[in-house]
């Protein structure tokens, strides 16, 4: 199945520069419909208000962290199958295990490069 390049993607990070970087890299890859949120609770509201094909979220945010957002998404009957990529500086094994147990589809460690982002997107969405 081909990847819908017009899908809505929600990126979540409390650093505006990081949002800008991810948005620009996604644009380079051909994804132009990108929305932003600066913490989990704002993201959850957006996810409930609009249809998204993918969430790319940071972990360490306040008041709602990325892992809390992931758990909320997986617990929501309408959102539970939404692809979710964690993109974070939290690189300990216990973090990756916790994210996997919460239902993350893939995990990118910061700092990351464009090639890694493309590989992980392909892994979650299919080749594009």
């Amino acid at each position: 199945m081909s990847v819908d390049m017009n899908m809505n993607i929600l990126i979540v990070d409390d650093y505006k520069t990081m949002l800008r970087i991810i948005r620009n890299l996604l644009k380079q890859l051909g994804f132009n419909n990108v929305d932003e949120a600066t913490d989990g609770s704002m993201a959850l509201q957006k996810l409930r208000d609009k249809d998204y094909g993918l969430v790319i979220s940071d972990w360490n945010m306040e008041p709602m962290t990325g892992i809390q957002l992931l758990r909320e998404v997986r617990a929501d009957s309408k959102l539970k199958n939404l692809p979710f990529i964690m993109i974070t500086a939290e690189s300990k094994t216990e973090n990756v295990v916790a994210a996997k147990e919460a239902g993350v589809n893939n995990y990118i460690v910061k700092p990351f490069n464009a090639a890694t982002l493309k590989t992980k997107l392909s892994s979650v969405l299919g080749n594009f």
């Binding site: 990070d13 650093y15 505006k16 520069t17 990081m18 800008r20 970087i21 620009n24 890299l25 380079q28 360490n60 500086a89 910061k110 700092p111 990351f112 490069n113 464009a114």
Partner: protein, 221 residues
Amino acid sequence: MSKIGRSGDPGMPPELNARLCELQGKSRSPSREDVAEVVGEMLHSLEGDLSEINLKVYAELEGLAKYILSAKREIAALRPDDITSEHLPKATDELDAIVGSTEEATNGILQAMELLESLTDKMPAEVAEQVTNAVTQVYESCNFQDITGQRITKVVKTLKHIEERVEKLVAAFGDEIQRYRESQPREEPQKSSDERLLNGPQLPDDAGKQADIDALLASFD
């Protein structure tokens, strides 16, 4: 038997009795120095059939009291209140300024790269590809702002933790630190006139604007 007893006991030496009455009359709790002083006086006033062991215990207690007094003076001399009122807030402000200035600089770099990227449509395909690759590398490198920002935030949290602990220490000392401050005015380190001018970079709120500096320069003309 020893003559240790409540203040006002007829068998107590008059000087010690007077000292204890004075302490009892204070509205606030006696300071550790007062207590140590009275304990010392009591030890000196002891007489009667004291065993050798008791005397050794009293001597140890006296030594301990002196040690505590000495340690307290040394801690007071460190001016722990300065740490919470001056040094730590200043360090925190400086770190916040680093996060702010790196974020501002990163946004400037990203803005320039976005403009460059938007111009690739007007470039020959081969050149456009090279420019896009270079721009991508800059995007990747700008990851640093997020990482350094998070690291600095951790340091700020650690500083705040230290600040809380030192505040508790200062509170435990009561007004002793203030008394020490008044009795031992701090000697400012000697600096040459050139050294006194080395205080930059100023925090954003304290920094002089170029326009102000130009106006100042112009005022010399």
